[in-house]
Symmetry: C2
Subunit: 212 residues, 2 copies
DNA sequence: TCTGACACGTTACGGATTTCACAATGCCCG
DNA sequence: CGGGCATTGTGAAATCCGTAACGTGTCAGA
C-alpha cells in the first residue's frame, strides 16, 4: 500500500535529512518536530505529516531519534548507496560542477564529463577526464549512469537531454536556461539563478504600497 | 485591489518571460496560451489563469502579442530596470557566479564581491574587485544593493545573511547548503544541486514496482 | 457584411496540500 | 510504580491551486 507520495513532500525530505545530519554532528540524539521545524522554518505539523507517509518514526513525549530517523530518510530517498553521475558541457559552469567537492561525500560520483570542444577533450577534471560529446551515446551504452547533469548552452540542451534519456538515464539536473522536454518517467530538476532572481524582484520592486 | 498573488504564480512568470523573449528572437509576433504551454509543459489554462491575476493581455481568437506581453511581464516582475547585486564568498563557486555572463544581460549588475580571505582581496573578478568581508557592512551603508548572493560555507551563511539583511538587502540568493533564517519581508531563494539530486534519487531508486 | 472558428478571461469545481486539534502513548520523576 | 507532562500520529477542516468549461470578443475569408 505504497500510497502515492506528493512530490512536494519528497522535495522536503532531503532538507530534513540534512538538518538531522547536522544535529547528529552536534551530538544531539533526539529531536522534536517542533525543534526541527524551527531550524528549517517549517511547521511541526508538516514535518509529522510528511514523515507519516512513510511510517511511524517518533516516540510520543520524546520526539525522534536523530540517528535512526536519518537512516530511515536516507533509505527512503535512496541515499544509502552510490549514484553515478555524468556531466555534459564543460564550460565555466560545468567545470565548477565537475570539480565541486560537495557531491562525492553525499554519494554522487562524477564518473564522466563530456564536451564538444576538441580543445577540452583529454583535460583532467577532478577525478575524471573530459571525453568528446560524440562518445556520449556509446559511453552510456557501455556504462551505467544514473544521473545526467546538463550544463550546455540553451540551444544544445534539448538534444543533449534526449541523448541522455535515450541512453537510459532517468534523472536529469538541468543548468541550461531552458526547459527540455522529457518523458514522464524521467525526473528533471532545474537550477537557474537568473529565474530565481527574476522571481524575487517581483517582491522587492515596490516598498510595500501599504500594510505594515 | 491588488489581490494577493500566489507565490507559485510569481515563480512561473519568469519562465513565461523567457519563452516570450525566445519567441521574439525567432520573429514570432503572436502566441496562444496553447502554443506557449506546449513549449513550457504547462497547461494553457494555467497560463491564462496566471496572467489574469495581472490584467487582460490577450485578444480572443488571436492570442497574445509577444512583444507587448513580454513588456508587461517585465514590468510586473520589475525587470524593466537594473538591479544591483553583491556576491559574498569568492570560493570556486562564488567566483563562477561573479564571472557568469548570464546576469548582466538580464539587468543584474554585480557591483561588489566579498571574501574573508585576505589573499583574495584585491583580485579582479569580472568588472569588480574583491573586497574584504569586514567591509561588507560599511559598503552596504554607503551603497545601495538590491540582492545579495550568499556563496559561503554553511557555517558562515547565517551570519552573512544577517549582515546583508541588516544592511538593507531584501532579496537573497542562497547557495550555501543550509537554510538561513530571514525576516518575513526578506525574500530568499535557495540553489542547492545536492538537494535537487537527493530528491530525484527517490524516484529512480526502484524500477517502478508495478504500474506502466 | 456576414459567418464561423478560434482563443481569451473567468467562474465554478475538485483535488491536493497544509493546518488544526486531540486522543494515544511513552518517559521521567518523585 | 503511578501521575503528569510532552510530543507523536492522524483524521477532519481549511486553504490553496489547477483544470475544465463556457460565454464572449475578434479576426479572416467569402
Amino acid at each position: 500500500m505504497t500510497l502515492e507520495i506528493p512530490e512536494v513532500v519528497v522535495n522536503r525530505l532531503p532538507t530534513y535529512a540534512r538538518a538531522l545530519a547536522e544535529l547528529a554532528d552536534d551530538g544531539e540524539s533526539v529531536v522534536s518536530s517542533q525543534a526541527l521545524g524551527e531550524r528549517l522554518d517549517v511547521t511541526p505539523a508538516q514535518i509529522r505529516k510528511d514523515l507519516s507517509y512513510f511510517g511511524r518514526f517518533g516516540k510520543q513525549g520524546r520526539g525522534y531519534n536523530v540517528h535512526s530517523l536519518l537512516s530511515k530518510l536516507q533509505e527512503i530517498l535512496g541515499l544509502d548507496r552510490q549514484w553515478r553521475v555524468c556531466v555534459v558541457g564543460i564550460g565555466r559552469l560545468g567545470q565548477a560542477i565537475a570539480e565541486y567537492g560537495g557531491f562525492e561525500p553525499q554519494g554522487f560520483q562524477i564518473v564522466a564529463a563530456f564536451d564538444s570542444d576538441p580543445g577540452k577533450v583529454g583535460s583532467k577534471l577532478g577525478k575524471t577526464t573530459v571525453t568528446h560529446s560524440d562518445d556520449l551515446d556509446a559511453f552510456l551504452r557501455q556504462n551505467h549512469v544514473d544521473i545526467g547533469v546538463v550544463a550546455v548552452p540553451a540551444h544544445a540542451a534539448q538534444s543533449v537531454t534526449d541523448r541522455l534519456v535515450n541512453g537510459g538515464i532517468r534523472a536529469i539536473l538541468n543548468y541550461a536556461p531552458m526547459t527540455p522536454h522529457v518523458p514522464k518517467d524521467v525526473t528533471i530538476r532545474h537550477i537557474d539563478p537568473v529565474l530565481a532572481m527574476q522571481s524575487m524582484t517581483f517582491y522587492i520592486k515596490k516598498p510595500e504600497p501599504s500594510g505594515k
